[in-house]
Amino acid sequence: MLTVQGLNVSYGAVQVVHDVALEVRPGEMVALLGANGAGKTTTLRALSGLADSANGSVQLEGRELLGMPAHRIIREGVAHLPQGRELFAELSVLDNLRLGHWSKRSDEAHLQAQVERVFTLFPKLRERATQAAGTMSGGEQQMLAVARALMTEPKLLLVDEASMGLAPIVVDQLFDALEQVNATGTSILVVEQFVAKALGHTTRAYVLAKGRVVVEGKSDELLNSPELLGAYLGDGHAA
């Protein structure tokens, strides 16, 4: 469903992503791994239209996404859960969810149904419905970010280091929630620094190093591969 070919992304004069090719099949949950600075986040930002200068090809069900602004890409069915969450910090939880549904332009009844759906997924958010997003704890904010991304019923969800700074138990809840979302048919591409966590929940994985795909394979096979560790932690830790 998502096919990326020959993707190059630059920040100013520095090219960060080189000739990346990857694929997410319908209903799949795929991991994109790599050390810090490997270009994972940049790749995701290019997919969702947030990167400044990218070339190559990013196709969703045959439609070219590259070149579209971010606010158009969400309407194509690609939701981005960015690093740092990017919530509307001063708006309430409910208002964040309402805006999450903005691109659908649907009626109030449908919106309420969606809100109900994500509240069922994250009951904690229901309790916090009227609280300003910025005043919640990190875990709750991350839940809200996931919930907001789900408000459009995306075909593909891009998740960027959702576990960052969260307690292990919250990370577990988060991945459980993502699996539930995946089970309802949404394809997911996760960028993750917790290798084991990511591999445990995905079917396939790509590993980036210095902006290039260096390893690609089945998640369970990669879990014990020294190749992966080498790419991830640097050669000193491959052994």
Binding site: V14, H71, A196, N224, L228, G234
Partner: protein, 980 residues
């Protein structure tokens, strides 16, 4: 009293207009972070549209609707043409963009309709009702009612509609808006349309109550800026409240003056303005806060690249120009001589803005007010005290500088555009209160210096100032001294601190620059120069009237400075000459009469949008062309080594005439110069003659004194605890790493050490001294130096000048010393330049000393920033992800440099996520995860630690029994750390 208040409330039609205005200002500010100075003009223009439509028989209601629609359209156009296009250059440039819009609209309407007041068709029927025993016009009540209705409507729109919610969201977070599918540009257009529509509505209704005049109607908006500021600039309800307060002040304050006890002091014109100004300044004063990590780059107008340390040899052209200027008074007719004097006056005021806006990045909308203070005080001293030139002018200069300093002292507590608002409010108060005051001017505020008071023969200074030729030569002498002094200042400590602040306040503070103090210096200097301009104006004209110093004139001065290129002295002078020339031209050529304002405003718009370098860039281009031609004829390439010397010393001003000696070759000597101004500590370690890679530290680290000692640091942001009870220490001479996965809180802890956030608990000691709670620049003074993850070099400057910025703490130069080039400053400058040469030598950057940092590869720039940190002489060097973005070779070079730094007695704390780099460089490592320090020890110890592996990998991919190990808390005090 209640009835009185009720009456007052109703009797003030302006409250309704202020509500509409301040709501629009706040809506636009929230959406675009721009202070829309064109708001008044955007109200005035639709009012003329309404007038024209109504005059041609359009039904009133339809005319109003069309005018409001026109206002909305105008808002959209202004946003698209100016605000959006200037976004990359930041809010200051965008705000100047709205100044250009103001000029264009006023000039356009004045050209079409003339400037005499026009009676606009009424909206509400004539007549009045009697309330509380006094009569109130229908029009007033109508305006108030519509203002209130619009306010309620807007609040409801933002609170209860999806589109209102989307606009609020987009105003808060552009990225978030994009990813949920809101087009942030469209949202900004929407906000400007709303702002434009409300402004138009207010303009139409106001015009119907008062009169149509392009100037006065545009200025009716000024109290609304006060209102918006009182409300905090961000809050709609605050804006409404502020508008009511502002409106009431106009009703109540004059009433109070009729109370016998208070008596005459308040029975001055402009008393409400004075009261509101004091209120607004009070609000600002109470909102002051410290620099924090969230204050990223100060955005400034992107002007001609700052020229520093560039060779500007005396050219034949310069001599010709000088001769021409000296002969000028005898070459031109007397009438042209008048414009020549005007050129100098313009130039001096433009230079005041070059210092304040061009060098420091602060915007002032009150330069004309300072000019007026200078002129009127000069007049007062000459006329009243009988003191002649130059002492009258000196007093005038001091008065203007004092006023500017006072204003700055209040306004500088807040950052960003608040300062611009403060100057705007000050100008407004000056127009209404200060200048009409009989104690400052004479009858009606005008001020005259009698001929005999103006330096007549036999006076203290015996110059015949009645001759305009003499006056011209004196003016030329004055501006020459000003330009030379300012170029001196630019090239020493204070000038560099100015540039550093403009480039990045955080970087400036990290180099030890007391940001607020230097901004205040700039304010005082700009006020003094404007006051000097004022003194010149009154000497030139003999009689001045207050309208010469009104707010609109401030906007003109700003236009002159921007057209000049804003940061260049030559450009400022050239722009003064250009505008005086245009004045003369449009006055002489009758076919052009009436077009001057439109041409000036267009010039500003063109320079802003298409040619941001202004005249300075044009002049620089001409120079380069001349150099190329000269180079072709002499045909000579620079010899090796020449470039460094050129960078270090090739100078024209007195300060830079000193050539630095070739630096000492050994690291030991180098260290001596580096630490020529030791703080509380001196480094006594034996230093090898060559910088070498140090051996790992042996023995117990805890036996060494602590360079940095942080205990129990907790930092919270809103509901998030970013760092929780974290402790770490760096021993003298040690290289310590702080590692952890993304989001672990490394940067937050780092910022806590640097004073860039406010920990809710914990203590931080630096070389034994408690620095908890001290501001960032003071910590720099105590020996902390740093680099930035996202490079904070000063773009456009050379490598040498960038590193030179790091010598701030060692330079003995003062503001005065820099201006006149005192021996202390010159000697200090020489030593600092020598020090920079040494640092560059150590880092092997000497060959590229003269290259602009804009053209260098990233890896080299990291070293340049490291060099700048070293130049501060700090004994604790903090590197923030210094290896990020570097390739393997560059990283290896960096590791070498870091390890060699230690041999100089400098301790290092580096934040890294790259384990390899940490293993190669560090003696000791602290590991953070989720805000806590979870492990400490040598690199080998921590990388073998199961918790560390878990933190990095989520769980160890090896045997699964390692997973989910219960997390132990980190030891509370580093002394007891015992992972080993």
């Amino acid at each position: 009293m209640t009835r009185l208040l009720l009456f007052t409330f109703l009797s003030i039609p302006l409250i309704g207009a202020y509500i509409l205005f301040s709501l629009g200002i706040v809506v636009i500010y929230r959406a675009s972070r721009v202070l829309n100075l064109a708001h008044g003009a955007m109200a005035m223009t639709p009012a003329y549209v309404y007038y024209t439509l109504a005059k041609h028989g359009t039904p009133r209601l339809l005319a109003i609707l069309l005018a409001v629609a026109f206002g909305a359209l105008l808002g959209v156009v202004v946003e698209a043409l100016f605000v959006r296009r200037l976004r990359r250059q930041g809010p200051t440039a965008q705000t100047v963009g709205t100044v250009a819009v103001t000029g264009l609209l006023i000039a356009l309407i004045a050209k079409i309709y003339g400037t005499s007041p026009i009676q606009a068709p009424t909206v509400f029927p004539h007549g009045q009702v009697t309330i509380a025993g006094a009569s109130v016009a229908y029009g007033s009540i109508g305006l108030l009612a519509i203002g209130l209705i619009a306010a309620v409507g807007l609040l409801a729109f933002f609170r209860y509609t999806q589109i209102g919610l989307a606009l609020r969201g987009a105003a808060q977070n552009r990225t978030a808006a994009s990813i949920v599918g809101i087009n942030p540009d469209l949202a900004a257009s929407g906000a400007w349309a709303l702002g434009g529509a409300t402004a138009a509505l207010a303009g139409v209704l106001l015009a119907a109550v008062t009169n149509l005049n392009p100037y006065t109607l545009s200025l009716e908006v000024l109290p609304a800026f006060v209102a918006a500021l009182i409300g905090g600039l961000e809050s709609l309800t605050g804006a409404i409240l502020g508008a009511v307060i502002a409106g009431l002040a106009f009703g109540v304050v004059p009433l109070l003056s009729q109370v016998p006890v208070i008596g005459s002091p308040l029975r001055l014109s402009g008393a409400p303005q004075l009261v509101l100004t004091l209120l607004a300044l009070g609000v600002m004063f109470s909102r002051g806060r410290r620099l924090s990590a969230a204050d990223t780059d100060t955005s400034t107008i992107n002007t001609a690249t700052t020229q520093m340390s560039r060779r500007a040899p005396l050219r034949p052209m310069t001599l010709v120009l000088l001769a021409l200027v000296l002969a000028w008074p005898w070459l031109v007719p007397f009438s042209v001589l008048g414009s020549s004097l005007l050129a100098v006056e313009f130039a001096v005021v433009a230079l005041s803005l070059v210092v304040l806006s061009g060098w420091v990045g602060q915007i002032s909308l009150a330069q004309a007010t300072f000019v007026g203070i200078g002129a009127l005080v000069t007049g007062l001293v000459a006329r009243g005290l009988g003191i002649g030139f130059p002492f009258d002018v000196i007093v005038g200069v001091l008065a203007a500088a004092g006023a500017a300093t006072l204003l700055g002292a209040v306004a500088l507590r807040v950052r960003g555009l608040y300062l611009a608002v403060a100057t705007l409010i000050f100008a407004w108060m000056g127009d209404a209160f200060l200048f009409p005051s009989p104690w400052l001017g004479a009858s009606g505020g005008s001020s005259t210096i009698p001929n005999q008071r103006i330096g007549h023969p036999g006076g203290l200074v015996s110059i015949d100032m009645t001759s305009r030729r003499v006056v011209f030569l004196i003016f030329v002498a004055i501006i020459s001294v000003v330009v030379l002094s300012l170029s001196n200042l630019r090239d020493t400590r204070v000038g560099r601190a100015f540039f550093a602040i403009r480039g990045s306040e955080i970087a400036a503070a990290s180099l030890g620059v007391h940001v607020t103090r230097y901004k205040l210096y700039a304010f005082a200097l700009a006020g003094a120069l404007a006051g000097l301009g004022g003194g010149m104006v009154i000497i030139d004209q003999r009689t001045v009237v207050p309208s010469q110093f009104f707010f609109t004139v401030s906007l003109q001065y700003l236009a002159i400075a921007v057209v000049g290129g804003l940061s260049s002295l030559g450009g400022g002078v050239a722009a003064g000459v250009l505008f005086a020339g245009l004045n003369e031209l449009f006055f002489r050529v009758s076919a052009l009469s009436g077009w001057l304002d439109l041409v000036s405003a267009s010039l500003l718009a063109v320079v802003l949008l298409l040619y941001p370098g202004g005249l300075a860039a044009a002049i620089a281009g001409l120079r380069r062309a001349a150099d190329r031609i000269a180079g072709l004829t002499t045909g000579r390439l620079p010899r090796p080594g020449e470039r460094l010397r050129a960078a270090a010393g090739a100078v024209t001003t007195r300060v830079r005439q000193v050539m630095p000696q070739p630096g000492p070759a050994t690291a030991g000597d180098w260290l001596d110069t580096l630490h020529d101004k030791p703080a509380t500590h001196t480094v006594t370690a034996e230093v090898p003659t060559q910088p070498v890679v140090a051996e790992p530290i042996t023995g117990d680290r805890l036996d060494r004194p602590a360079a940095l000692f942080a205990t129990g640091v907790t930092v919270k942001f809103g509901g998030l605890t970013a760092v929780s009870d974290a402790s770490l220490d760096v021993r003298e001479g040690e290289i310590v790493g702080l590692i952890g996965p993304n989001g672990a809180g490394k940067t937050t802890l780092f910022n806590a050490v640097l004073g860039l956030n406010e920990p809710s608990a914990g203590a931080i000691k630096l070389f034994g001294a408690d620095i908890t709670g001290q501001p960032a620049h003071q910590r720099a003074g105590m020996g902390v130096a740093r680099t930035f993850q996202v490079l904070q070099l000063f773009s456009g400057l050379s490598v040498f000048d960038n590193v030179l910025m790091g010598t701030h703490l060692h330079h003995q130069g003062t503001l005065f010393g820099g201006l006149v080039g005192t021996p202390v400053t010159v000697e200090s400058e020489r030593r600092c330049r020598e020090r920079v040469a040494n640092v560059l030598e150590l880092l092997k950057l000497s060959d590229i000393a003269n290259e602009s940092v804009t053209d260098l590869p990233f890896g080299t720039l990291r070293l340049v920033e490291l060099g700048r940190a070293l130049a501060t002489g700090g004994r604790l060097l903090m590197l923030d992800e210094a290896a990020s973005g570097l390739n393997d070779i560059e990283t290896a070079r960096l590791v070498d440099v870091v390890r060699s730094i230690r041999t100089l007695g400098v301790s290092v704390l580096l934040i890294e996520h790259d384990m390899q780099m940490v293993s190669a460089a560090c003696d000791h490592v602290f590991v953070m995860d989720r805000g806590e320090v979870i492990a400490a020890g040598t690199p080998e110890q921590v990388s073998a630690d199961a918790r560390v592996r878990e933190a990095y990998l989520g769980a160890s991919p090896a045997p699964s029994s390692e997973r989910r190990k219960p997390r132990r808390r980190a030891p509370r005090t580093p002394e007891l750390t015992g992972v080993r």
